[in-house]
């Protein structure tokens, strides 16, 4: 379980996270929803200690984030995180060098699944393929949690379908996933939990199936209510 | 393992090349000859504070060294601090080692020091401007070597130019200073008598005052005759009072006339007397040790004749003759306490002036090898 307890984050005087509380469970897909610039990425960065928070607590399975956490949580940012002059196989070797949780056979499977060639240089890849490599580096780790920042943004429709397929596959199964998006359409049926963010606060945190069942509202319905009201 | 090949190559390059370079540098220093002074006869203590400086120059090595009774030290063997301070102020170094606390804060050691068997006196100068007039503050620290008692006091002096000498006579500190009056340009040597108990100037006596001259092209000056050991107790201080007439020629200024007088001041009695010793007659007045003034003459036979003049009795002692051959270079000499030290041809000799005897003789050797082919001695002095 990844927990946010009263997390406050400021950039100078600008408050980005203003007392954020939410939890994301293992085995569930939690989606952070909000327009651009509401602090979705900041939340992910904060979990990985890629940006400091001013107060509050972030716990992974009840523990503070340490170097060990990086064998347990993988973050797939929306930008490429490998050196452009590396070949895909070199990038995989790098991961294998440093992570005990690196699963080479899974990596090979993902390579096939995404139709990537391991001799290709990362700098020569298309945007979609770069995103796939990015996913590969995260998904091939035997981690309990995966964080994905805007995996669908700026990517062609076929790649989007391919990525969406990942969520329903054994690659994700039983892991906890936190995904951010500003556009819910693609994945409305994929997510267990929606966390609506605005102005640095959580407007609403709900289970999508329960919401449909109890109130007959889609995620977009709730968003409409929340953001307009 | 292929990944590590570049770093390994560079590591090997670094260790190999820098390692060789510094090992080779260290080996050059290790090969330097270890000269030392081997006693032939006499009292060895006489050369305890003697320092012979020179250069060893052979093949790739060109190194300055300091040779003492304790052995030889090359400048390449100095550590970084010693190299930074330089190998020159041995008196300061000796005093620092012996009296580390007393010597703290002392940078400059030259004429501002007095040392006898019992006392060590240091004077620090400080300027201060008051009403556009420079005022010297003299900070005097005094150490009783036996009781370790330290005293400090401060006096202020006007019109001072610099300290000439310091003596300790009859429980009083005497600071001899040169004064220059800014209006009259008058020069004088003044004896400041300071009682260490009161810490103030008890008496201020003018020893010598320069002759007045109103002519534009005449200059007056009073200079002290160099002492071989400037911190030692001196029975006499010698001053030369000069009046120079200068003319401007086509090739710059030229001294056309020089009137000079040699004055001896007795530090114990406070009396002074004029010495009538012309260079023409006696040769070059080369050294002074407080009692004797040494004149030196090279004869045509290739001898160096040292003529000690007793200032007290105003008469010459027996001359000391040293065979140096036709070649005059590289004869080092110094004097101390009525003793003449000569370093020549790998020999160190000490003569007693009164008796004319050799009271110490030593030989500079390296192992069993007295070969000084690559050595040049250039200076001898006392710590």
């Amino acid at each position: 379980m990844i927990e946010f307890k009263n997390v406050v984050k400021k950039y100078g005087r600008k408050v980005v996270l203003d007392g954020v509380n939410f939890t994301a469970n293992k085995g569930e897909i939690t989606c952070l929803i909000g327009v651009n610039g509401v602090g979705k990425t900041t939340i992910m960065n904060a979990i990985m200690k890629l940006t400091p928070v001013q107060s509050g607590e972030i716990l992974v399975d009840g523990e503070k984030v340490t170097k060990k956490t990086f064998e347990k949580v993988a973050f797939i940012p929306d930008a490429a995180t490998m050196l452009p002059n590396m070949k895909i196989e070199e990038a995989m070797e790098f991961m294998d060098d440093f992570y005990t949780s690196w699963n080479q056979s899974r990596a090979n499977e993902l390579l096939d699944f995404f139709n990537l060639k391991k001799k290709d240089k990362i700098s020569s890849l298309s945007k979609g393929n770069t995103a796939k490599v990015n996913l590969l580096m995260g998904l091939a780790l035997d981690v309990d949690y995966i964080l994905m920042d805007e995996p669908f943004s700026g990517i062609d429709i076929f790649t989007r379908e391919q990525i969406a397929e990942v969520f329903t596959s054994h690659l994700i199964e039983d892991r906890g996933v936190i995904i951010t998006t500003h556009e819910i359409n693609d994945i409305e049926h994929l997510i267990d939990k929606a966390v609506l963010l605005d102005n640095g606060t959580i407007y609403k945190e709900f289970n999508t199936e329960t919401m449909r069942e109890d109130e007959g509202k889609s995620v977009i319905d709730v968003m409409r209510e929340v953001y307009r009201g | 393992m292929k990944k590590f090949i570049k770093s390994t190559i560079v590591m090997i390059l670094i260790l190999g090349s820098l390692g060789t370079y510094y090992v080779q540098s260290a080996m050059v220093t290790n090969d330097l000859p270890r000269y030392h002074i081997e006693k032939v006869k006499g009292e060895e203590e006489l050369i305890d504070n003697l320092i012979i400086r020179g250069t060893y120059s052979h093949e790739e090595v060109n190194d300055r060294f300091v040779l003492t009774n304790q052995g030889i030290e090359y400048s390449s063997e100095l550590n970084i601090v010693e190299r930074f301070e330089g190998q020159y102020n041995f008196t300061r170094q000796r005093l620092r080692e012996k009296y580390p606390d007393f010597m703290r804060g002392t940078q400059y050691v030259h004429n501002n020091l007095y040392e006898d068997d019992q006392y060590l006196i240091l004077v620090k100068e400080d300027y201060e401007y008051e009403q556009s007039e420079a005022q010297h503050e003299l900070e005097i620290s005094m150490l009783n070597k036996e009781s370790k008692e330290e005293k400090e006091f401060e006096v202020t002096v006007k019109e001072m130019s610099h300290i000439v000498d310091i003596q300790y006579v009859d429980s009083n500190v005497h600071i001899y200073i040169k004064k220059r009056n800014h209006q009259s340009q008058n020069i004088s040597i003044v004896d400041l008598t300071i009682n260490p108990n009161s810490g103030s100037i008890e008496n201020e006596t003018v020893l010598i005052e320069s002759k007045q001259s109103n002519k534009k092209n005449q200059y007056v000056n009073i200079s002290q005759l160099g002492e071989s050991v400037n911190y030692a107790p001196m029975q006499y201080l010698l001053f030369r009072d000069q009046l120079e007439t200068v003319e401007e020629g086509t090739d710059g200024m030229r001294v056309t006339d020089r009137e000079s007088e040699l004055l001896a001041y007795n530090t114990e009695t406070g009396e002074d007397k004029k010495l009538d010793l012309s260079q023409k007659e006696y040769g070059l007045a080369a050294m002074f040790d407080g009692k004797y003034l040494y004149f030196e003459v090279y004869t045509e036979q290739g001898d160096l004749v040292m003529k000690p003049y007793n200032v007290e009795s105003e008469s010459f002692e027996d001359s000391i003759t040293i065979e140096v051959g036709k070649q005059r270079t590289n004869i080092l000499k110094t004097v101390k306490d009525g003793q003449l030290y000569i370093v020549h041809n790998s020999k160190v000799k000490v003569f007693d002036v009164q008796s004319g005897d050799v009271v110490y003789e030593g030989k500079i050797v390296s192992g069993d090898n007295p070969d000084l082919e690559f050595v040049y001695f250039d200076f001898v002095e006392f710590k």
């Binding site: 085995g27 897909i29 397929e165 329903t168 049926h189 994929l190 267990d192 449909r212 069942e213 007959g216 | -």
Partner: protein
């Protein structure tokens, strides 16, 4: 297998409804093996948890049976299958009544129209 989901009803309910239709229509025969929940999630592009929930509900209703290390199978229990058919008919009738009532059509007229229509489309009825 493709379902067009609406966003307002719970996805698992839509999945169960889909299965019920398939069984009622005979696309899934009694005792036939159905895809695993993971395969199902993957085929339907839904969250595996949702698929899991749908399976669980169907098991509780007795629509499917799962034995250890065996793929789930459609029940062969005739009673349950009959109930399922009844449920679907009642559901359809309810919807029909509800719609017809709302436009104030007399029941007989409506029933006549139903008879005519039913006769025409017999054989390839679709819900």
């Amino acid at each position: 297998m493709k379902i067009k989901f609406n966003n307002r009803d719970p996805v698992y309910v839509q999945v169960i409804r889909h299965f019920k239709n398939q069984i009622a229509k005979g696309f899934l025969e009694p005792g036939q093996a159905i895809p695993s929940r993971r395969e199902l999630a993957n085929q339907l592009k839904i969250n595996p948890n949702t698929a899991q929930r749908a399976f669980k509900e169907m098991e509780e209703e007795g629509l499917i049976k799962t034995e250890r290390n065996q793929p789930s199978r459609v029940t062969s229990d005739e009673n349950i299958l009959q109930d399922l058919r009844d449920e679907l008919i009642i559901q359809a009738v309810n919807e029909f009544v509800h719609s017809v009532k709302s436009i104030n059509v007399p029941l007989d007229d409506a029933l006549n129209l139903v008879k005519q229509k039913y006769g025409k489309e017999k054989g390839d009825l679709d819900d």
